[in-house]
C-alpha cells in the first residue's frame, strides 16, 4: 500500500476540467512537503497526460500513488490507441485537430514532455482498445 492512493476520472470532452486531477495532486504533494522539483515534474507530466486523454481518447482514469521515495502515475483510457508509439514519442509528431492547436496544444510535445519530466515512463497501447501510460517520478533524481 502506498502512503497516499488517489483516483480521478478525467472527463472526455471538457478542456476546462483537464488539469483538475494534476492540480489536486500538486496541491496534495505541496501539503505533504514533497520536494518542489519532483512536485513540479509530477504536475507537468500528469497535466500533459490529462490533455492527451481529453484530445484523443474521450477521457480516462488517473491513478496516483504517492510514497516518500516515489510518485507513480497511471493514466488509462479506452480511446483509439496509438498505432506507432515510437513515432508518437517524437517531438513535433501530432495528430491533434486544428481546434486543439488553436488552444495552444497539439504541437506534438505532450508525450516527449512526459518522458522528459519523469524518471520512468512506459506506454502500452492497443489500437481500438486504448492506451495506458505508467510514469514514475523519484524525488532528487532528474533536475
Amino acid at each position: 500500500m502506498s502512503m497516499l492512493h488517489l483516483n480521478y476520472q478525467v472527463p472526455g470532452d471538457d478542456f476546462t476540467r483537464a488539469g483538475e486531477a494534476s492540480g489536486d495532486v500538486k496541491h496534495k504533494l505541496k501539503k505533504l512537503g514533497y520536494e518542489p522539483d519532483a512536485t513540479r515534474r509530477v504536475a507537468i507530466a500528469m497535466y500533459e497526460g490529462e490533455i492527451n486523454m481529453v484530445i484523443h481518447a474521450g477521457g480516462g482514469e488517473a491513478v496516483v500513488d504517492i510514497d516518500p521515495d516515489r510518485v507513480e502515475i497511471v493514466l488509462a483510457d479506452h480511446g483509439p490507441g496509438i498505432e506507432d508509439v515510437d513515432q508518437a514519442m517524437q517531438a513535433g509528431w501530432s495528430t491533434a485537430p486544428d481546434n486543439v492547436r488553436a488552444l495552444g496544444f497539439g504541437a506534438g510535445m505532450g508525450l516527449p514532455n512526459m518522458k522528459k519530466y519523469t524518471d520512468e515512463m512506459v506506454v502500452e497501447s492497443v489500437v481500438g482498445e486504448g492506451t495506458t501510460v505508467r510514469m514514475t517520478v523519484v524525488p532528487g533524481r532528474k533536475q
Binding site: F15, E48, I51, L103, G104, A107
Partner: protein
C-alpha cells in the same frame, strides 16, 4: 518586486485574480505554446502571452508564475477569468505587443 506594483508602473489593467497581486516577480517568460511554456516557465516569472483560455490559467497554476499578462489586448475567456479568480492567478491586459512589454519588464526588474 510585487506583480501589483509592476503592473501599476507599466500601466497594465487587472482582469482577474486580485488575490495574487502580492506575488513576487523575479523574471519573465514569453510564449504561447502551452506545452512549451509549461516545460520552461519558472515559478516567479511574469508570463507574457496572447493565450487567454482556461488552459493557460491551468499552466500558470502548475508553473507558479506570478501572473499572466495578455499583450496586444488579447482576450481573456469568461471561463478563464473564473478560474483565475479561484486560483488567485493575476491576469493583466495591456495594449503593447509582447516585445515592448518584455522590455518594460526588463527595465522594472533592473531597477
Amino acid at each position: 518586486m510585487q506583480i501589483g506594483e509592476m503592473a501599476q508602473t507599466c500601466g497594465w489593467k487587472l482582469l482577474a485574480g486580485e488575490k495574487g497581486t502580492g506575488n513576487e516577480v523575479d523574471g519573465c517568460y514569453v510564449g504561447d505554446l502551452l506545452s512549451w511554456v509549461m516545460a520552461r516557465a519558472q515559478a516567479g516569472n511574469v508570463w507574457l502571452t496572447v493565450m487567454g483560455n482556461v488552459n493557460a490559467v491551468a499552466v500558470a497554476t502548475l508553473t507558479e508564475v506570478s501572473a499572466i499578462v495578455l499583450t496586444e489586448s488579447a482576450a481573456l475567456d469568461a471561463e478563464a477569468a473564473v478560474k483565475a479568480e479561484q486560483q488567485g492567478i493575476p491576469v493583466y491586459t495591456c495594449a503593447e505587443n509582447t516585445y515592448e512589454t518584455a522590455v518594460q519588464v526588463y527595465e522594472k526588474l533592473g531597477q
